[in-house]
Structures are given as C-alpha cells and as structure tokens.
Amino acid sequence: MAKSSLVNWSRMKSPWILHFNSGACNGCDIEVVALLTPRYDVERFGIKLEPSPRHADVLITTGVVTTECADRLKRIYDQMPEPKFVVAIGACACSGGVFAGNYSVCGGVDKVVPVNAYIPGCPPKPEAMMDGVVKLLNSLKGPKTHGKRRGKDSSSPK
C-alpha cells in the first residue's frame, strides 16, 4: 500500500508531456507553448516538455484529426509506455470544432485514441489548460490509475 502511494505521488508530481498537433490552426498550440513561459510556468508542477514519445506520460493533442494524421496519432499513442494519459485541448480536438463534417476531417481526437481529459475553448486560455491538467493529476489520488492495460491492444476507440 505504501509503495503504491509513493508511486502514485511520483506520477502526480512529475508528468512529462508530449505535444502533438494533429491538424490544428495553431491557436491552441501557441497557448500550449505559452504555458512554459515565465507568466504561466507549468514547470512549477513538474511538467516538462519532452521531445520523444517514449519519454512522455501525457499526450497533449490539439486540433482536429485529419485523414493524414489519424494513423500518425495512433502510432504515437502506441509508442508511449504505460501508464499514459491523453488530454484533448480545444474545441477542434474535443469534437471537430468548426471543421466537423469536412471531407478530410475525422473529427475529434477520441475517434482515434481514448481521451482522459477534454479542455474546451477556441483556444482555451492558458489558465484553463492549467486547471484541466491539475484536475487530471488530482484524479490520480484515487486507488486505481487509468490506463493500466498492458500489451499491444492497449486502445479501443468507441
């Protein structure tokens, strides 16, 4: 019990993020990058921006999923080791936004990978993003963490 709460604590305090844009207009992306700058500074929470999918715990996606990017997004999600979380930022990532129904748009991110947190907005303010991330981290306080599946078949979009 003590060991698992220590591990839980370390996961809460040190979430490393990977940022992937799967077809966004850049509005959400510049707000995500603004989170690392002195005014908002998410490194206070231990969040680090990692370059490689293998190092990251949280996948932050922005933008709709276009037909070109659908396969890439799935691959990146599969490359991340467990336990992992997905945060969909922006109205486009949640449901397709203004582009829903266009001929090269699959829709929101949850058509391709399972999502843990949705942060709506167009784009959401950095404060809203921080609020969403902190809520996601606090949800780890419970006894069971999400995403303990192992093996290849670790995703099942509805």
Binding site: F20, N21, N26, T37, C92, N102
Partner: protein, 529 residues
C-alpha cells in the same frame, strides 16, 4: 497619367496585336482578361519581360458545370492581373509555366490534385494535399464530386516504414523530419537527403493539416464563413477575416466607415507585433537558446493583454466582421494601449542589439540559408522573406487597404538575403507597427464602426489582398446571388514561401536546417487550409 487598365491594354495590344483581348476591370486596380489557353504562356512571358517584379499570386480553378475556369492571378505593374482560361471537363489540360516562374510549381500541383486540371510538364503520381488513401480521379472541389466516407479513408492507412530516396540517388542517407518532431509545431513531413552532414535535397509532403476549408465555405453562409475563415490560422486570424470581408464588401460595393477602417488597422498591427515576437522567440528555441525564447514570450504577453482588452479574446480575435468591426474603443482603452506599447518599445533595443551583436546568434544565423534576389523573384516569395532579399514589396504600400493610405510608415528592406536578415527585419517591423498604432489612435476619426450588410450577395466576383505578418494573403470570392458563396480561394503567404525552403536547403549543413526553416516563419495550417 494613364490608368493601370490603359497601360495593360496598351501592352497587350503591342504584344498580341489583333488577338489582344479586352481588359475587364472589376475594381480599382484589379483587371481580368479572358483568353484561349494557347495564348496564356505568351502573355505571362511578355509581362515578365516588361516588369521584373512580376510574380504569380495564385491559380484558381472554378467548376462551371461543363467547363472548368482556370485563373492565373499575377502581381504585375502594381496591380493584380488575372488571366482567365476555360478548359473542358473531360480533358482538362493546360501548359505549365514553371519554366518561366518556378514558383508556380505548388500552385499547379494543388489545382491538379483538388480540381483535376493537368498541367503538362508538371505531372506527378499520388496526391499533393489529399491523403494517400483518397481515391484516384476523385476531385473534391468539383461540384459533382463524390466524397468517400471517412471510415473508408482511415481504414487502410498508407504506412511508410522507410524514408524514400530521390530516385536514382539511393546512396544518400534519408532523414525524416516527420509529422511529430520537436522542431515543428505543426505536422508536415520533410525528407532530408543527406551526404555526411550536408543536405543534398529536401522532399516535402504537405497536406497533414488539410481541413477542406475551401469546400466547406461553399456550403455555409457568409457570416458562418467569417467564423470558419478565422480558424484557418490562429496566429494571423485577423488578416484572414479582413481579406475575406474586404472581398465580400467589394462585391457588394459597401464602404466601411472610417472609424471601422482605423480600428481594423489597429487590430491588424497588434496581430503583426505578436506574430513577429512569437517568431523570434521560436527561432531562439530552434537554435537552443532557451533564455531568449523565454524573455521574448514574456514580453509578448503584454501584447496579448492588449489584444484581449481590445477584442475580448487572446488569440482568435472575433473582432473584424462584414462591414466593419464589432467593438469600439474608449478613451481609457486608448491610453492603456499607448502606455503599454511605449513600455514595449523600450524593450525593443535589447532585442535589436541582441540580433545585431550577440556572438552565438550570429555564429548560427549569419550566412545561413541564402535566397538571392533573382531567386526570390523567380520563386515568387512574399513578405519579410522577400524584403530581406532586397525585393521591396508590401501590400500596405502597393495596394493600400483599411487605413494604410492615410498613415505614414516605412518599408524596411535588407540586402543580406540570409536568415539573420529575415529575423532582423521583423524586429524593425515591430517598431513600425508600434508607430502605426500610435498614429492611428491619435487620428481616430469619429463615426460608426460598422454598417450592416445584406445576407444574400448578388452575383459577382472580387479579389483582395492584405499584408499578413508572413506576407501577402490573397482571397478570391465568387458570389452567385444566394446566401453562400460559389467559390472561395485562399492563397496564403507560406504556400508561396515553401518552395524557397526547398531551394535554400541545398548545400547547407544538417544542423542549419532548423534555423533556416524557422526564419521563413512557416505556418502550415495556412499552407494546407
């Protein structure tokens, strides 16, 4: 002083004699002609010989039922000159102009991919903007296109395991800077063909952010299109909306009130300042200078605050609309904007000094990624990229819109043609923007900020362009009397500048590719729409 239309008519008569078509001006300074496809290349050649600053802006395809109308929009003799040709739908073929203007390469490929017009001399396999799984001979922008379902498209993805080589040159190492890469904020795939540490060539694959905006515009009303068009690019959203609104207002013939025009100018210049600061912070990140990135973005927050108090939103302004702007400014707001911009202007000498004198920046950026003046003209680049190579083009002076004809300001050019010049020019443009906003606030005229426009737009067409932070942004709108447009064509500045990256990457070091690339300020959501 002959008007532009007369000058062009005289030139055409000289060149073609009896075959010369009649010039049709559709608005002040924008002329159209209609010719047979065989005369097209000759006219373009004549124009290039007459005016060295001639460049291709865009190639638009419009589906007219049995025929497809292909329009070549050229920037020449200080006007937008459009050459219309008609090709049949069964056998749509035209001659390519990439031997005269290499910058037309991607424009022709886009029309081939989306509309089905083949340009002899510029054919290719596979798709350019559409995904590889899209069926062949299915052209989505045509009115009678059958759109396949999304599930069919993503069911069998085309997976690329090995990077592709240049055919015949398999000995080079191929590095993929792929859709997910820390250097890129957006997904696009670039394959670098490398020998040792020198890049031999670059093969780009665009279309990862293609969200089918042009087709979607045709099925929404004009007001809904304002929302859609704003989200083509989050960074230069004010410019997209301005250009679209200007095109529709040109068709309707409405005159935006003076106060509305000045407020549009202020919003556009604030947009320019925040975009330039974003870029040279990002450039610092690309060359490993984290401290510069953090300082720049900290100072940029002041501008974001100003945008928020002016328009209500930090990024997507939702401020400019058909007929004017949506909110007014009060006197306290004017004072706040002026004080904050004065503080920002005090910070700018620090950045200017950094880019002039800092050793490690000069070591990484000086002499990297050269685009000579001749190449800049032939590749039809626009914006700060062109101005850093000595080509003095700026839509705010060449074709004034909003309030730019009443506000004095300077155009900055450099002759160095390298990445350092492209970044320095943006620092100078920030100074100019701050002065423009100060002047506009001081001389803000009274009156209404907006006029109402009717919901249905009568049949007609218009072109309009605007100087976005990255360069010239061009729209063509065709209305057909209903509440939705018939065709909206968007040509973004990065689409024109991408070829220059392919050109300048030949022969540079692999480690120089990120700084050279980011000095172009690429915005792929604009490119792919």
């Amino acid at each position: 002083m002959a008007s532009v239309e007369e000058k062009i008519q005289v030139h055409l008569n000289d060149q073609l004699g009896g075959d010369a078509p009649q010039v049709q001006p559709i608005a002040k300074g924008k002329v159209f002609i209609q010719v047979e496809p065989s005369l097209l290349k000759g006219i373009v050649k004549g124009l290039i010989e007459k005016d060295e600053l001639t460049g291709l802006i865009a190639i638009t395809g419009v589906d007219l039922g049995d025929t497809i109308e292909v329009m070549h929009h050229l920037r020449t003799m200080e006007t937008i000159f459009t050459i219309r040709t008609l090709v049949s739908k069964e056998n749509p073929e035209l001659e390519t102009i990439i031997d005269l203007l290499p910058g037309a390469n991607l424009h022709e490929k886009e029309v081939t991919d989306l509309m089905g017009v083949k340009f002899t001399g510029n054919l290719f396999d596979g798709h350019f903007l559409l995904s590889e799984a899209w069926p062949k001979d299915n052209f989505p922008l045509r009115k009678d296109a059958e759109i396949p379902s999304i599930d069919d498209l993503i069911k069998n993805p085309v997976v690329i395991d090995e990077p592709e080589s240049i055919p015949g040159e398999e000995k080079y190492l191929n590095i993929t800077i792929g859709p997910q890469h820390p250097a890129l904020l957006e997904p696009e795939r670039f394959q670098l063909h490398v020998e040792g540490e020198i890049v031999i060539g670059v093969t780009p694959r665009l279309g990862y952010v293609h969200r089918a905006v042009e087709k979607a515009c045709e099925s929404r009303t004009y007001m809904q299109d304002v929302y859609l068009v704003e989200r083509i690019c989050g960074i230069c959203n004010a410019c997209h909306v301005t250009t679209f609104c200007q095109s529709v207002e040109n068709i309707l013939g409405t005159e935006v009130p003076a106060r509305g025009r000045y407020l549009r100018t202020i919003a556009a210049e604030l947009n320019r300042i925040h975009s330039h600061m974003l870029l040279f912070g990002h450039a610092g990140l690309e060359i490993g200078f984290q401290t510069l990135f953090q300082y720049t973005w900290r100072d940029r927050e002041a501008v974001m605050d100003l945008i928020e108090i002016l328009t209500g939103n930090r990024v997507n302004m939702a401020y400019i609309t058909l007929g004017g702007v949506r909110r007014d400014v009060t006197d306290t707001l004017k004072d706040r904007i002026r004080t904050d911009l004065a503080k920002l202007e005090q910070r700018m000498p620090f950045y200017k000094n950094l880019y002039e004198n800092e050793l490690s920046l000069r070591a990484r950026l000086k002499g990297v990624g050269i685009i000579s003046r001749e190449d800049a003209l032939k590749l039809c680049v626009v914006g700060p990229v062109a101005r850093a190579s000595g080509v003095k083009i700026d839509v705010r002076k060449d074709d004034p819109y909003a309030a730019y004809d009443e506000i004095p300001f300077n155009i900055v050019t450099y002759n160095d043609c390298d990445s350092l010049a492209r970044l320095k020019i943006r620092v100078d443009e920030i100074y100019e923007s701050i002065h423009i906003i100060d002047y506009a606030l001081e001389h803000l005229p009274d009156g209404p900020i907006r006029v109402r426009v009717p919901r249905s737009v009568p049949a007609g067409e218009a072109v309009s362009r605007v100087e976005a932070p990255r360069g010239e942004l061009f729209y063509y709108v065709k209305a057909n009397g209903t509440q939705s447009p018939e065709r909206v064509k968007v040509r973004t500045p990065t689409f024109a500048n991408i070829l220059s990256f392919v050109h300048m990457a030949k022969g540079i070091n692999v480690a120089d590719v990120p700084p050279a690339f980011v000095s172009l300020d690429p915005c792929f959501s604009c490119t792919d729409r």
